[in-house]
Amino acid sequence: MREVINSLELYRNKLLTLYRNKFGEQIDFEFLMDNQIIVTVPKELLVSACLYTQQTLKAPLVDMIGTDEREIDECYGLYYVFASNDLDLFITISTRVERDNPAFPSVTPAIHAAHWYEREVKDMLGVHPIGHPDPKRLVRHFWSKEVHPLRKDIPKGMKLPRTDKELPFKQVKGEGIFQVPVGPIHAGIIEPGHFRFSVQGEYIINLEAKLFYTHRGIEKLAEEMNFHQALPLVERICGVCSFSHSTSYCQAVEKLAGTEIPDRARYIRTIILELERLYNHLGDVGNICAGTGFTFGISQGSRLKETMMQLNERIAGNRYLRGINVPGGVQLDLDNEISMQIRETLTAVAGDFRELKEILVNNDSFNERLIGTGVLPPEIALKMNVVGPGGRASGSRRDVRKNHPYAAYSNTEFQVPSYTAGDVKSRLLVRIDEIEESFGIISQALAAIPGGKLNSALGPIKPQSYALGYTESPRGENIHWVMAGQGNTIFRYRVRSASYTNWPAVQAAVPGNMVPDFPFINKSFELFYSCLGR
């Protein structure tokens, strides 16, 4: 442990020298909460500092946050968060945008992963990215461009004025090219989103998705709430990644407060996080079968998922593992009886699943549909910073549990599966492998769980301090960013779910495939609209 800290210390000093040599005295440095570094740069240096961080330090852009801090220093704040691939380190490049000139040089032309973030900042805060290649609306569908809901002078419940203008779609022109509109209400029992396919015959030339139908204003609602009060809201960002979201949030708050959670809580979180991954992945394996009409796979997958959800209900009293987390630890214990039930259920499900797996990977007619369908090439996945199973099926080895260990993951052994073909089959295989790893992690954690108390009291939290919380949800990394306000309340809350980074990847993987293959290419990424729209 000592050695790691020393090397991090050395690395920090090295970084300081690197940035100083490159950018001179115009930048400010701040080291925060063991694994965060904040580099404040003037607006003019934003693009070069971001590019330098990404290229030299091999750290992908994982989030970007805009804040309205006019009441503090007459400025909007921008925070570009990069996560190192080699070290457990987050580097934030921050800059100030003065109130009278709400514009900044866009980073998107240099770093593609910034494109949605900057569009969102323009929509929600009215701070304009100058030079953005596609600066059209993202979150706002029809609200007037004069109002920006995340500005502090807009009340939470304000009825926003609307304009009649619809969002324009990209037109593909040529002989025999048609547009197929789908949604927002779909044929299946799924969430709302609009897809505009440009097709020639059966084949898709372009797909454009209009999303954010489920925008519920969660980030704004959370503002001014105290840290405990916001928890039920956080658990409802996404129904089925509920525990990952609440863990991300709690970790951010714990970092702000400088609170170490008890060891027992770390293990309980690990177990519950993996139970969440299991019920999601088991269901998703069935769902991929649904896309090909393989009814045997659907019913087996959904049955196994149901078994896991009934276990959830026995643990938490609800089927979505809500009400377990609390800032500072957990509020629900796993007693011997429930641990026993977890072990018994997992043994049964594991045996059952292995039989199903054998059938699925050896069924030729099923595999014919999966192999080579919906290919996301590794180089595109890298540029878009695609996360989770979607990214790991396209060559990425990034997994927050390994790269930036939290809960008790550093005390458990597991592999991170990775494939390079980038097709639906690879994404199925990543899930199948991860299910096996989850069984292992849970049994290790159950065996090693220490006794002791469940949660610690939060320490004092300084206004305007901020911190990151992150988890590897079943869909990939969830990053929550919390800035504290006066009197233990939230000043700004930003949620970047895995679906947020992966939706653009679906649009990249689909062209060249047939329209009937779209549902299961989409299913193989298994992205959500609810945590995207917030």
Partner: protein, 261 residues
């Protein structure tokens, strides 16, 4: 192919007996709230702490609005006298929204009456075969997954003559989840118009019943009944699959007497 048959036979029958027979509900389950009036000091702590303001203190008594309740257990945990507890009762769907607002000391009586007595108007036309179109009007996905669960081998809703259809043109009932976001208001209205008469609308989950945790947001209208006539309310966040089955059967007045098989 043989391996498929073998696995299917080995799996056997997994379907629940609900609604014909009541099954064991896990002890940890958080259902309808009861308050022990002997020990309750009416301090109002529960009303203050409730994340959706589902508990109110009015004229010296506590009122619970189940259309807002998340069944999260926060009130139970924070009650200084430990007077609040969640029962395992999940069959809470009602026709009139007012019936979801109950004064605590009248709670048992009120709900018992509800359970025994079916509402007057019978939707005879839809009783035997009911086709549902699900509409997500901005949910967290929790309710949607529970509806999906209805089609799995365990709940197998088709055995009750109920099925989900792809288009509102083929539907008898709209099952609406979510708090109705501004962005989905038009889509929901259009779906309603596209559904032929006679039709029923079911609001499922705290969001659809009242706006739930998203009440008071600039982006959410807050409840399906703000824009459509609602026939049945199914409270819960989300309601468990059995509770949805109960609500759907209530919508078509087909709740079987217990132990009828």
């Amino acid at each position: 192919m043989f391996s498929l048959f073998k696995k299917s036979i080995k799996t056997g029958k997994k379907t629940t007996k609900y609604p014909y027979e009541q099954e064991d509900t896990p002890a940890a389950f958080l259902g309808r709230i009861v308050i022990n009036l002997q020990t309750c000091s009416l301090c109002g702590q529960c009303a203050t702490i409730c994340p959706t303001k589902a508990i109110k203190k009015e004229d010296g008594k506590l009122i619970i609005e189940y259309n807002k309740c998340l069944f999260c257990g926060v009130c139970q945990r924070h009650c200084p006298e430990h007077s609040i507890s969640h029962t395992m009762d999940f069959e809470l769907a009602v026709r009139e929204k007012e019936k979801l607002t109950v004064a605590v000391n009248e709670i048992n009586e009120d709900l018992d009456v509800l359970k025994g007595k079916l509402a007057g108007k019978t939707e005879n036309i839809l009783r035997r075969s009911l086709h549902i179109r699900h509409v997500d009007s901005g949910s967290c996905n929790g309710c949607d997954f529970e509806i999906n669960a209805l089609t799995n081998p365990v709940y197998d809703i088709q055995r009750l003559g109920i099925d989900f259809v792809a288009s509102p043109r083929h539907a008898d009932l709209l099952l609406v989840t979510g708090s109705v976001t501004e962005h989905l208001e038009t889509a929901l209205k259009k779906t309603f118009t596209a559904t032929p008469d006679p039709k029923l609308v079911v609001a499922m989950g705290a969001c659809a019943c009242s706006g739930g945790i998203f009440q008071g947001s600039y982006a959410a209208i807050g409840g399906v009944d703000k824009i459509l006539p609602v026939d049945i309310y199914i409270p819960g966040c989300p309601p468990r699959p059995q509770a949805i089955i109960y609500g759907l059967l209530k919508a078509i007045e087909r709740i079987p007497p217990r132990n009828s098989i």
